[in-house]
Symmetry: C2
Subunit: 354 residues, 2 copies
């Protein structure tokens, strides 16, 4: 039976990427060696790293605009720490849109004053705040562009004169977007880019060198840029598989085309959530994420029935996060419209059965 993988992350990747990654672990490009046995200083791997950085900048339309792409380790959680370590000298603003923003705020507080500019906590983070004032003397403003757990996503980026930093772990490369509004953004690979184990950081170089504290080498963006993401041994497999996905995005026509497909998938599923009387959506309508669709059963007693239906139809990874309960359908780039339709079928089956 085909498995429809709605997992929030690590999550579905294109089948072609999976096959090529598996092949490269066996043998990289007829080299007689496995991808994971070669030196990271070999020509083969340096070329992999360079192409991955180049494609990441190309897809975000930031080539030749003063930005650098880095493939680091430690996930977005390490970036919560690194962006504060490198950029927070006096005070920073954070918009709190959920669990990950809250964690980012916690780490930043070790390094300076942190102002919570806005928050949707009072409503269990079911919307993206709007219409707040942003002080002009912040070292930076930090956003989480998509909130995996709550299923919310920024549609517009707030206007500000201060540097803009964003955690884009769960929606990078998923839609057409003016990435040049951001001075620094980062994303754990394990949603739309690759396997867990590497984190893409794209940073405007002019942003660096402004804090007075001494930064440990591995956490220092300047050191990482100088080393071309190879200050120390990079996570070879995760970088290579990310490159395969970045190539796949290219082959599919780039993020604009992918973004349109993602809109279609999300619209179909939200339409069903709104139409089907058995379900209700969690996120407020104007903040709905195109990546993570959160919804609950109107009658929680039907949980076992619906879970069994999903299971019988090969639908996997649909359980909502404990903060929200119910269901979360993660419909990342690699998930097909057919999988969304399979889920819609299950939802309609429940309605008919009732």
């Amino acid at each position: 039976m085909k498995i429809h993988n709605f997992s929030a992350g690590p999550s579905i990747l294109p089948k072609d990427v999976i096959d090529k990654a598996s092949g490269a672990v066996k043998e990289l490009d007829n080299s007689g060696l496995s991808l994971i046995e070669i030196s990271h200083r070999s020509k083969a791997f340096i070329s992999i790293m360079e192409e991955a950085c180049e494609l990441a900048l190309k897809h975000t339309n930031l080539n030749n605009k003063g930005y650098k792409a880095l493939f680091l380790q430690g996930g977005a959680s390490q970036q919560f720490l690194m962006c504060a370590y490198n950029l927070l000298d006096n005070k920073a603003g954070y918009v709190n849109t959920g669990t990950w923003s809250t964690k980012a705020i916690k780490e930043a507080k070790l390094f300076g004053d942190v102002i919570e500019i806005a928050s949707s906590k009072e409503n269990n983070f079911n919307y993206i705040p709007k219409g707040y004032d942003i002080p002009s003397d912040l070292d930076y403003l930090h956003l989480t562009t998509n909130n995996t757990i709550f299923g919310t996503q920024y549609k517009e980026i707030p206007k500000t004169t201060v540097p803009l930093v964003a955690d884009m772990s769960s929606d990078i490369f998923s839609r057409k977007f003016d990435y040049s509004k951001f001075d620094l953004f980062y994303a754990g690979a394990q949603k739309n880019m690759g396997p867990a184990g590497t984190t893409l950081v794209i940073i405007k170089e002019a942003l660096l060198g402004k804090v007075s504290r001494r930064i440990p080498s591995i956490l220092d963006y300047t050191v990482q840029i100088k080393g071309g993401s190879m200050f120390n041994t990079p996570p070879v497999f995760a970088v290579y598989t990310s490159l395969l996905t970045l190539r796949w995005i290219e082959e599919k026509g780039g993020i604009e085309v992918i973004g349109e497909k993602n809109s279609l998938k999300a619209n179909r599923l939200y339409n069903e959530v709104d139409r089907n009387p058995m379900f209700k959506g969690f996120a407020s309508e104007e903040s709905r994420s195109q990546m993570n669709v959160t919804f609950n059963l109107v009658d929680a007693e039907l949980t076992d029935t619906f879970d069994a239906m999903c299971n019988d139809n090969g639908i996997s990874g649909l359980k909502g996060h404990r903060s929200v309960g119910g269901y979360r359908a993660s419909i990342y780039n690699a998930l097909s419209i057919e999988s969304v339709e399979k889920l819609i079928n299950c939802m309609q089956l429940l309605e008919q059965k009732k």
Copy 2:
């Protein structure tokens, strides 16, 4: 042609491990999903992580002795930082045996007084210092048990009453060893354990909680222990492949048996280095590493000839580090005695040709 992979790291892994890792990227245990598409909170992955930790403790004979095993990200370089962040309150001692020790010292200096207890720098790190005094008031003493670049290795661990910390990146699981002498040791996976992208840390829990500073969550061993190495998304592929190697070690009879095989390989190669008038060893005899055999040509003008011979015989990754020049044969656990013999043949071929 079979490639004989003498790369210093990332480096050779058992063929069986490579094949199984490749297979799991395609599909994990008939689950219908790739290893890299499943949630790290799934039963399947939690069991992988638990077994990997358990086997790491078993192979080091540290089960039920107050130690925890962690699989983190960031390589040994991140551990240079973490061990100082977590343990250095007042002053620490470091023995400087090469490039990696020097880097560890540099990072530790951000957090307290660092005393270089001994160093072999004056002789380009070609030996492991002995017979030094260790102050009794150190927060810890830090060693690098094997020095990949220079080809030196501790045979005996200095006696001390202070906590002992070690970077074992290039010789963990390679020999019978009293690991209980150490309070904390760590190893980047990419030599004897797996692909680049995860770092094993084994730590005595009683060592923690003694510094006064606030530690960022991701760098805090206590937080990482509490999260079972899953404070944030772990590097799933690297952990799984490390588990495969830990199982392979078990199947081969454990590290005692593997250590004997490693001795045999190293002895054969050092014997040839000593016997063959075309070559001279770099590391001093009593400090010679069983993992990285460093040697130079007596007549550097034969470099191109010897390189071509190696190349013609499928010998790969033999180039020495620029700090030493010449050659470095990394003969990790997975390298067969046949590969060592192939290299010896090449060395003898050069002698005959002359």
